[in-house]
């Protein structure tokens, strides 16, 4: 590459004419933002797919009753204000004068319709609204939401429920969400009619999505008129495009490129700790290991083994070498900013290979054992590289790990089928409350709850605490219970925490776009420097 | 001043193994209006002379000494450009194979007009007139129609006429004809040679006629030069030279040419040419396990062919109606008696080639019967009967280069049939191979060599040894010598004659060469268009042919001895 560079420099002068002729970087209208990420939204139906890139795109077009600002604080969205009427009912006062992109007015009817749509069988957002019993329309701008049981975090969940236009939906026969698992294309897949700051102007799946500013937006007017998203799956190509000024913003620059990007005058990189913790899951509930039929018991059920594995991991090396400093070593599996996070809890056991070996010997595995590590290779930042490093570190205490790194679609199927002994997972907290972690990862697994608890961890005390937390409206009491759960599980070494992920955005230095820890860009806040 | 005079010409091809001298000190003269024959066997360098004159020697060949004077001017002194002008305008050349000498994508007219325009600087229409005149001159019928046709629409003889017309485009003074009729049938050959003779007379052309065929030399040329391994051995007026050859090589060469005027018991051995042993171990005959002399008095002929027909179907297609199949063999009947040599003669396409492949069941006939010793060998046979028939019926092929597997050792080639029929174990088979090699005058050491280490004649001996390995009673010889030089041909034919007389083999002998037929065969069938037109004793055919076609074949046959 060095050679290339010098060749390039040499030929630079001679070819100035050619450069002028082929000048690729046409000056874009200052009011256009061209951005890219590895993947595209899967659908524009706002209730069909609960997946980050899809939500990202939909959030530009659709609004929610309550929304979060760039600091993730809740703020009024389509609801001006909300208050609990009782333990199980909430009143929402809706913003008036809001219109959809097609011009029709937003009203209480639409709220009822949208929430019920999100509850439909084919919706992927059922979990967020399944405590809701009914939506009552009080008047055109007031609704009351009744829940089946007390639900202290309903407002948080509502930040994910996008509001659609009932009339539009009926007209285009999309009154129930697209069934993503069936072969049908509905109108809402490539068309949208929201109240957001941007309207959908053009949508070619996997190729290009163009958003146009909504002049009738209810909030502070957005500055940038056109947003163009082009998915580029190859990271070097994505970065090359940013470097050659074909893009203004890259959502997911590989961290190894940040240094170089930062060094560039025309590009700036901003980073923020994300509300997501990366950890290793160990199935301690299974009788034997799936990936090692030679063992007739499950070594992972032994806390000493889990502790040995924990202590064998040199998190500093991972942080420095793989994450290039852009990660915060974690002691619990939730991140700062989440209700219930406690700095004191977030401390790690020391990295001590010798003690780890001793623990293994005590547990009866002086020679170690074999196991398979399942790992996604396109979900988290450097996920596969982290797994490789873990494999290497565990091999030093004689645990022979074979790595099975797969694309996320297949990986999640493996996890979902409860087919893994040992896996790497990252958990973001959409509601910014520890309960979100507990209900998915720590509660004993059943159809309704603990669905991601593939560690098959089961603790009656924890389960009781979680049940109480879910209904406790007294926040002090609730926080105490949360802390209790964290203490129990940390002590038990239920999961092996690795680090809190730090996200970085790379953008043209002319662009100002506040980074959001949820990794959801809010383009309505973007501006260009003059 | 001679038209062309070659003085002490030497041409060599340098290679990493040394310099190969294709021509050494060759001198000859050709006068206007004279046909000068160059004759010799393969490797004699006769074609190289033509290429050297034209300046078209193939890389890396070069003229190492001597000079070529054309009309008193040295060709060697000419620039490339001048030489190119000389080619075509003053010297024309025609090649052996008319099928490949013409550009298939241009009409013959275009090729003619292009050449005429280039050399004579005529306008297109004037060139076309001249092209038509040339067509008339080379006696192509309907020149106006044919001039716009493409080469593939012409027959072989007609194409050679087109080639001649092209060579004559710009009225050259000298014409070099390199084996101009070798690829043609006898009847067409005669016409082409006649045409050349007439053109020579009319235009006072000088012609250098390169050929291997003594008959062509005798009938066409005024003077002849005999070449051997790049050197001139003898030169002189044709009649004189043929009647009284001076050099031993010429003498033996001439004696090796099969005579068509009388049958001789054996060919003269051309010992001067290649170290060749005659069949030396007569004891071999005693060893022979064949059963040929049995049944000599039997009433049943050894092989009886009745109403044999075979047609080749054109490839079926979806749209074209399947074309009428062409009958390659049409209702042919003959019988071959014990110890007899049965000849089949005909031109290309006469159907003589499928017959030797029908008898040993390489092809299945459409209809008709073949009986060997009274038993039918057509149709589905028990495996054992088929094997025993195949063992008794062996074949010798035309091309000694392709008829033996180049990747097998000679020993394995000859032993293969012995082992296949289980006549002997491997050790016994190899002993048998040694005996066969002795018998055919090859060294025993040959057994371990591969075919490429042998000359054409030696290969044909190997081929014969393979055929004899199973001790057959019927030997089918399919043009066994037509790819060989005349001297080698004599050796091989002698071997076959010896085999026949010593082992009492029955033979079917296929050839296009009438003199060879006369020398070899007892009975002859003359074939034309898949049918036998005349079947008679061979002496009768040559003295009193009945059928008009046989007569014309005999008349057109180039004959050195007439």
């Amino acid at each position: 590459m060095m050679n290339l560079k010098s060749i390039a420099n040499l030929s630079l002068k001679g070819a100035a004419f050619g450069a002028a002729l082929l000048l690729a970087t046409q000056i874009q209208a200052a009011n256009t933002l061209r951005w890219s990420s590895a993947g595209d939204a899967l659908t524009m139906d706002p209730h069909a797919k609960n997946e980050t890139p899809t939500i990202n795109m939909n959030r530009q077009v659709y609004d929610t009753l309550i929304q979060r600002d760039e600091n993730l604080n809740m703020e009024p969205g389509l609801a001006l204000s909300w208050e609990p009427l009782s333990a199980t009912s909430w009143q929402f006062n809706l913003r008036s004068g809001v219109t959809f992109h097609d011009g029709s007015a937003f009203s209480a009817e639409d709220v009822k319709f949208s929430i019920e749509r999100a509850q439909a069988n084919t919706s992927d957002f059922k979990a967020y609204v399944n405590t809701i019993e009914s939506v009552e329309i009080i008047d055109e701008h007031t609704v009351v939401i009744n829940t089946k049981s007390p639900d202290p975090i309903l407002p948080s969940y509502l930040t994910f429920v996008f509001m659609m236009d009932q009339t539009w939906s009926l007209t285009h026969k999309v009154s129930s969400p697209q069934d993503y698992n069936s072969s049908e294309e509905t109108y809402a897949v490539r068309h949208a009619n929201g109240t957001g700051a941007y309207s959908l102007a053009e949508r070619e799946p996997d190729l290009k999505t163009v958003l146009q500013i909504n002049p009738n937006y209810w909030g502070p007017a957005a500055q940038i008129e056109t947003i163009i998203h082009t998915p580029i799956s190859s990271a070097p190509t994505r970065i090359a495009a940013l470097l050659s000024n074909e893009l203004d913003f890259v959502l997911d620059p590989p961290i190894q490129d940040l240094k170089r990007l930062n060094a560039q005058q025309s590009i700036k990189v901003t980073s923020v700790p994300q509300i997501r913790t990366i950890f290793l899951g160990l199935d301690q509930g299974a009788p034997t290991l799936r990936s090692n039929p030679d063992l007739d018991n499950n070594p992972l059920a032994d806390k000493r083994v889990r502790k040995a594995m924990y202590m064998a991991i040199d998190i500093k090396a991972i942080q420095q070498k793989i994450m290039r400093g852009l990660a915060e070593p974690a002691g619990i599996i939730t991140a700062p900013g989440v209700n219930g996070y406690n700095k004191a809890l977030d401390t790690r056991l020391p990295f001590d290979r010798k003690q780890a070996k001793e623990l293994l010997a005590q547990a009866g595995y002086p020679e170690g054992f074999k196991i398979r590590l399942d790992c996604p290779n396109n979900r988290y930042i450097n996920d596969e590289a982290i797994c490789q490093a873990v494999v290497s570190m565990l091999s030093k205490i004689d645990i022979k790990v074979s790595l099975n790194a797969q694309p996320k679609s297949i990986f999640f199927k493996t996890i979902g089928n409860n087919d893994s002994d040992f896996y790497l997972l990252g958990w973001g907290v959409a509601t910014l409350d520890s309960e979100y972690v507990f209900r998915y990862l720590l509660n004993t697994r059943s159809d309704k709850i603990g669905t991601w608890n593939r560690a098959n961890f089961s603790n009656a005390e924890v389960d009781q605490l979680i049940a109480k937390i879910q209904q406790e409206v007294d926040l002090t009491k609730r926080d105490q219970m949360i802390e209790k759960v964290w203490q129990i599980t940390k002590e038990d070494i239920t999961y092996l925490p690795l680090h809190h992920q730090v996200i970085s955005w790379a953008m043209s230095s002319k662009l100002s776009l506040p980074i959001v820890a949820s990794n959801e860009p809010l383009f309505r806040l973007a501006t260009y420097k003059k | 001043m001679s038209l062309i005079e070659i003085k002490n010409l030497s041409v060599c091809y340098p290679s990493r193994r040394g310099v190969f001298k294709a021509l050494q000190n060759v001198s000859l003269k050709v006068e206007a209006g004279e046909i000068h024959g160059l004759v010799g066997e393969s490797g004699a360098g006769k074609s190289t002379i033509g290429s050297a004159i034209m300046g078209l020697l193939e890389h890396p060949g070069e003229i190492s000494a001597g000079e070529i004077n054309f009309c008193g001017q040295s060709i060697g002194a000419l620039s490339d450009n001048a030489l190119q002008q000389l080619r075509g305008s003053s010297i024309g050349m025609i090649f052996q194979d008319p099928l490949t000498s013409l550009n298939p994508l241009m009409s013959v007219g275009e090729q003619l007009i292009e050449t005429i325009c280039y050399h004579l600087k005529l306008s297109k229409s004037a060139a076309k007139d001249r092209a038509l005149a040339l067509f008339k001159e080379v006696e192509i019928p309907e020149p106006e129609v044919r001039i716009d046709q493409y080469p593939h629409q012409f027959s072989g003889g007609m194409r050679q006429r087109v080639v001649i017309a092209l060579a004559l485009c710009s009225e050259p003074k000298l014409l070099i004809a390199d084996e101009p009729t070798t690829a043609l049938d006898v009847s067409v050959q005669a016409q082409i040679l006649d045409l050349i003779k007439r053109l020579v007379k009319k235009h006072q052309l000088g012609v250098i006629l390169v050929t291997h065929d003594m008959g062509v030399i005798a009938q066409t040329t005024d003077k002849v030069t005999v070449l051997f391994r790049g050197k001139v051995v003898e030169s002189g007026a044709t009649g004189q030279l043929l009647a009284a050859p001076q050099h031993r090589y010429t003498q033996s060469l001439l004696s090796a040419v099969p005579r068509s005027d009388k049958k001789m018991s054996r060919f003269c051995q051309v010992s001067w040419i290649e170290g060749s042993q005659p069949l030396d171990n007569r004891a071999f005959a005693k060893d022979w396990q064949g059963e040929n002399n049995l049944n000599l008095g039997s009433q049943v002929p050894m092989l009886e062919v009745k109403n044999l027909s075979l047609s080749f179907k054109a490839k079926a297609s979806i749209f074209a109606k399947t074309p009428a199949p062409t009958k390659a063999v049409d209702d042919v009947s003959f019988s071959v008696n014990y110890g007899e040599v049965f000849g089949i003669v005909g031109e290309s396409g006469s159907g003589k080639s499928p017959i030797p492949r029908l008898i040993p069941r390489l092809y299945n006939p459409d209809s008709g019967s073949i009986c060997y010793r009274g038993e039918s060998v057509v149709g589905k046979l028990p495996k054992q009967q088929l094997q025993s028939f195949r063992r008794r019926c062996q074949m010798i092929f035309q091309d000694p280069y392709s008829s033996i597997n180049p990747r097998m050792r000679v020993r394995d080639i000859i032993a293969e049939p012995i082992l296949l029929y289980g006549l002997n174990d491997r050790k016994g088979a190899y002993q048998r191979v040694d005996k066969l090699l002795d018998y055919l005058g090859l060294e025993r050491a040959a057994a371990l060599k591969y075919p490429h280490e042998f000359s054409g004649g030696q290969r044909q001996r190997i081929s014969i040894a393979r055929a004899l390995a199973t001790e057959p009673s019927l030997l089918i010889c399919d043009e066994p010598t037509s790819a060989l030089d005349v001297s080698i041909q004599a050796q091989i034919l002698n071997i076959l004659k010896d085999l026949q007389s010593e082992l009492g083999l029955t033979m079917i002998f296929i050839s296009h060469d009438l003199p060879v037929i006369r020398q070899m065969c007892d009975k002859v069938a003359v074939m034309k268009a898949g049918k036998i037109v005349e079947l008679t004793e061979s002496e009768t055919l040559f003295t009193a042919a009945q059928h008009a076609y046989s007569q014309s074949l005999l008349r057109l046959m180039p004959n050195m001895h007439r």
Partner: protein, 322 residues
Amino acid sequence: MEHNNSHSQGVQQVPQMQKMTLIRKIADSDIFYSFCRSPLIVFAAVLCLSLVLSALFAPWLAPYDPFDQSSLSLWAANLAPLSTDDDGFFYLMGTDNQGRDILSAIMYGMRTSLIVGLAAVAFALVLGTSLGLVAAFFGGWVDSLLMRIADIQLSFPAILVALLIDGVAKAVLGSSQMESLAIYVLILAIGLSEWVQFARAVRAAALVEQRKEYVQAARIMGVPVPLIMLRHILPNVISPILVIATISIAVAIITEATLSFLGVGIPQTEPSLGTLIRVGGNYLMSGEWWITLFPGLTLVLLVLSFNLLGDWLRDALNPRLK
């Protein structure tokens, strides 16, 4: 040129003669001559040989074992070429993001690449040659069927066929099994995409051979068909097979690398050159060029050496170019 007489020696010496001449024959052969005359080809052969040998003997030659997880130190990751890590280990070509020595990884990666390439070509060779022989010898509908299949397959380039086979395998096997079987699927996919070359060449050559009279002689003798094909025809169609095989190895290696680059080939745990390039490609823009450039360069040299040899062999074995 007739120089046959030089070989007429005594019968007794024959076995010795054979041995003597074998070496002399090789040294004297036209192929060897044309080989020595071209420095480029000698270079290609030396290059090819040294690459293949270094892959073959990687466990002994490589400075480190890149598959020995326990020897990797993450702290030695991303070192530039010619650097030494904290423990004093030296890395000629630098290390990758796991601290793996690039030089060793290349040697082992080349092993995987070569194994896939050679196995795929061997598979294609056996399949293509036998089908080509069968088609040539039986003719008729067998020939038509086989050649039509070949035609249709030819309309889909190797890479596409290999991708399709890979996709189908993925659908049939499921992804977790796919992981362990990836290398076999890859060999199968590349092999199946290359057999046509062999089949067509062998068929064409066999048709030419078959018209020759030595085959007719064998048929008249009643030699069984399989024996004719194996003993008579096959040895005579070896040279086109040889040429295609050499070039096919180059094609197979590049196809494997491409598939691995596209992420459907060899998994990262036992990386081939293509996998190394794919993984390293992620670091190209960040200035850690050695992670992708050295494997890339090795791949190019390996493929080039096979291509040069194949190209030369094609001319050297072509009787008409002599």
